[in-house]
């Protein structure tokens, strides 16, 4: 009995030794990419699932060599990628434990994803410690690359500062007569940061306007905004800024709409894009809508082959137009392909990082320049539009879309976002 066990163990050891040696000698046929996203909880519907769909769709197309040129080569450096989908819920600490499992137990080759800023913030140092090639897809906080220099961590979309600076610029351009503004943002890091950036920017570019002293910060997932809507209705401000997302966003739109809030006030929704396709007729006209960059409804009319392929394929598979998160995850997967194509399918994390650092590439909807954070943080344009229901086609569209170049809404390399805005956004090229 004991002998048998011993032989078995030796056998396994020998096989794995051969496999290991083989892996080192030849390019891999398959690689594993872990894609974390919200699969449970309130963020799953509006963010997690579209994101995962986008990632899977792009991965499948790459595996089959079906992406439009110039990405029509098969695979990731020739290797087929397996996607491991996993849930991003449960808090940053839990995600740290899961991340370690991904790297140390499940031995994934690359990790591409994450929506929550809290998770990205917590995982960046872990990724560095474990020397694991990681691309953050959607999370927004600027702190990740401003606080420390990263070697293995990338982010392929602009950070949240751009969302709110662009929002303020759009407001200045379209509503020059606006006198006062207020805001309703969730009381956690995302909402607090968003309001601060928007408020600081307006102080700079529209110094004659005044922020309300009664800005609202309800609890995340509160769902009931009756009192807040009353308070904002009574407020003198004529503009409302919100970074609400998901269920809170939709509940706020329903409740505010029923009470005529958006008829009296201009609503600025920095993450409103995710709701545009889903709410249909229930979305009020005249909202200022962002999508955290050039994604989703804002770029529906862009005619590039890559963009049209993305929209049409997504609509074929999932029956709905792709929203921002689908784009963001899709382009992060694309970035992984570019890195693998350059470095080879057997590349180490170090080689992959070298391959991606500082490059500029054409993504589905926009050009991505990895030029901030020492070449680890993307700079992209950012834009807004105004909602209108197109009764002919029975769907929402945005009009008056305006995009601001990255150099206009993001701080130059090496500068902290908040300091940059406070300092009058020096060096911004609009």
């Amino acid at each position: 009995m004991k002998n048998k066990l011993l032989k078995g163990a030796l056998g396994i050891a020998a096989v794995s030794a051969v496999a290991l040696a083989g892996g080192i000698a030849h390019a891999k046929d398959t690689i594993t990419i872990a894609v974390p996203s919200f699969l449970t909880g309130g963020a799953a519907g509006p963010f997690g699932i579209p994101a995962m769909n986008g990632a899977k769709m792009v991965t499948d197309a790459i595996n089959a060599g079906k992406l439009p040129a110039p990405y029509n080569t098969k695979g990731f450096g020739g290797a087929t990628a397996d996607v491991i989908a996993l849930d991003e819920g449960g808090g940053a600490t839990k995600q740290v434990a899961e991340y370690r499992n991904l790297v140390e137990k499940r031995n994934v080759d690359a990790i591409v994803g994450y929506i929550s800023s809290g998770n990205c913030q917590a995982l960046a140092p872990v990724a560095e410690e474990l020397k694991q090639f990681t691309i953050f897809a959607t999370c927004g906080t600027p702190r990740i690359f401003e606080e420390a220099e990263r070697k293995y961590v990338f982010r392929t979309m602009g950070h949240a500062t751009a969302d709110n600076v662009a929002a303020a610029m759009y407001v200045k351009e379209k509503f020059p007569d606006m006198k006062g503004y207020t805001g309703i943002n969730q009381n956690y890091a995302w909402g607090q940061d968003s309001w601060r950036d928007f408020d600081l920017t307006l102080q700079q570019i529209m110094p004659n306007t005044k922020a309300s002293d009664k800005t609202q910060f309800p609890k995340i997932f509160a769902g009931q905004y009756g009192s807040e809507i009353s308070a904002m209705s009574l407020d003198k401000a004529d503009l409302i800024h919100t970074s609400f997302w998901g269920g809170d966003l939709e509940a706020f739109i329903f409740q505010g709409n029923a009470r005529g809030l958006f008829k009296k006030k201009i609503g600025v929704f920095t993450v409103g894009g995710t709701a545009a396709y889903r709410l249909g007729k229930k979305l009020p006209n005249g909202l200022v809508l962002g999508a955290r960059g050039p994604y989703g409804i804002l770029v529906k009319d862009r005619q590039s082959t890559l963009n049209q392929w993305f929209i049409n394929t997504y609509k074929d598979i999932y029956g709905i137009y792709p929203s921002g998160p689908a784009y963001q995850y899709g382009q992060a997967i694309l970035a992984a392909k570019i890195a693998y194509d350059k470095a080879g399918s057997d590349a180490t994390s170090e080689q992959l990082a070298d391959a991606l650092r500082g490059i500029t590439f054409e993504s589905f909807s926009t050009t991505i320049e990895m030029k901030l954070g020492n070449g680890h943080q993307a700079a992209t344009e950012n834009g807004y539009g105004i909602t209108e229901y197109d009764s002919e086609n029975g769907e929402n569209v945005v009009k008056d879309v305006k995009f601001y170049p990255a150099s206009c809404v993001l701080p130059p390399e090496g500068q902290n976002s908040v300091d940059w805005i406070k300092g009058g956004m020096k060096g911004a090229k609009c």
Partner: protein, 298 residues
């Protein structure tokens, strides 16, 4: 004056919401001494069921007014089915065991029910705005208010009066009070305590489901919506006194009105209202403001 009216209405509306979601929790606790963590799941199931059918009926071209019927039906169906299955299938077999173990069992149930919702309804949110759109809005105190939101106050009043009437004006209520005061006494008086338990649990579940179903038209019905409700209803019940209906009503009013004042006058402190009230009550009166009398043993 107008501002005061607005604050009062906002406060009442939020208090009503709090009361509806916490009434079922406190009733179940009062009678059965079970802190039902799965209460949030009843809320979620009520919301999903209502939203699902309101959407379906609307798609079929049926009149939107049916939505109100669906809301009540959803609460009853969810309460009866889930309440019955959980009480008969699980809790019934645990009454001999430690009360705290029962809390844990409901915690386990909560985890299971959360994921079953995900499997049954998917991750995409459901919208059931039709009943709210139907009732339109009015100008009141210088601002627009949606009528649907204000009917919440009526629903809460009906629930409160209904509970009061049931407890104080019916034979059933007398039996229930005997069981609440002392289970052993109830048994010795010949009360069919297992039946009382089953019906109480179903009743509490219906109230939980009603909370979700009634709120559904004003929100996006999405995964995880039950979690928040557990915390809120628990806070109300702790403040009011665990197991006391009057306590739940007063607790809801205190938290709801203070919160409305904060939102209007000093939004920075709004977030701490619930917890501040809870902390103060815990320090000075840990058993809550209206803790029901306990029988003396020995």
């Amino acid at each position: 004056m107008e501002a005061a009216l607005t604050i009062l209405l906002d406060g009442l509306q939020f208090s009503s919401y709090l009361f509806i979601v916490s009434a079922g929790l406190t009733i179940i606790f009062g009678v059965m001494k079970i802190l039902n963590v799965a209460h949030g799941s009843f809320y979620a199931w009520g919301a999903y069921t209502a939203a699902f059918f309101i959407g379906k009926f609307s798609d079929m071209g049926l009149p939107d007014a049916l939505g109100f019927l669906i809301i009540v039906a959803a609460a009853i169906v969810v309460g009866v089915i889930l309440g019955f299955i959980i009480e008969q299938g699980i809790l019934k077999h645990m009454y001999e065991r430690d009360e705290v173990l029962i809390v844990l069992a409901t915690f386990g149930l909560f985890l299971v029910l959360e994921d079953i919702i995900l499997i049954a309804f998917g991750t995409d949110p459901y919208f059931a705005y039709q009943p709210m759109a139907l009732l339109d809005s009015v100008e009141l105190g210088g601002i627009t208010r949606d009528v649907y939101g204000m009917t919440l106050i009526g629903v809460a009043a009906v629930v409160a009066v209904g509970c009061w009437w049931l407890l104080n004006k019916t034979k059933w209520g007398t039996l229930l009070k005997a069981v609440i005061f002392d289970r052993e006494m109830g048994i010795s008086m010949g009360i069919n305590v297992p039946l009382v338990y089953t019906l109480t649990f179903i009743g509490g579940a219906i109230l939980g489901g009603l909370g979700g179903a009634y709120i559904a038209p004003t929100i996006s019905v999405a995964p995880g919506l039950g979690t928040e409700v557990i915390v809120l209803s628990f806070a109300v019940v702790v403040v009011g006194g665990m197991g006391s209906i009057v306590g739940a009503a007063i607790g809801s009013l205190i938290i709801g009105i203070l919160r409305a004042i904060a939102v209007h006058e000093l939004p920075q402190v709004e977030l701490f209202v619930v917890f501040a009230v809870m902390a103060i009550v815990l320090v000075f009166r840990p058993e809550g403001l209206f803790a029901p009398a306990k029988p003396r043993k020995i």
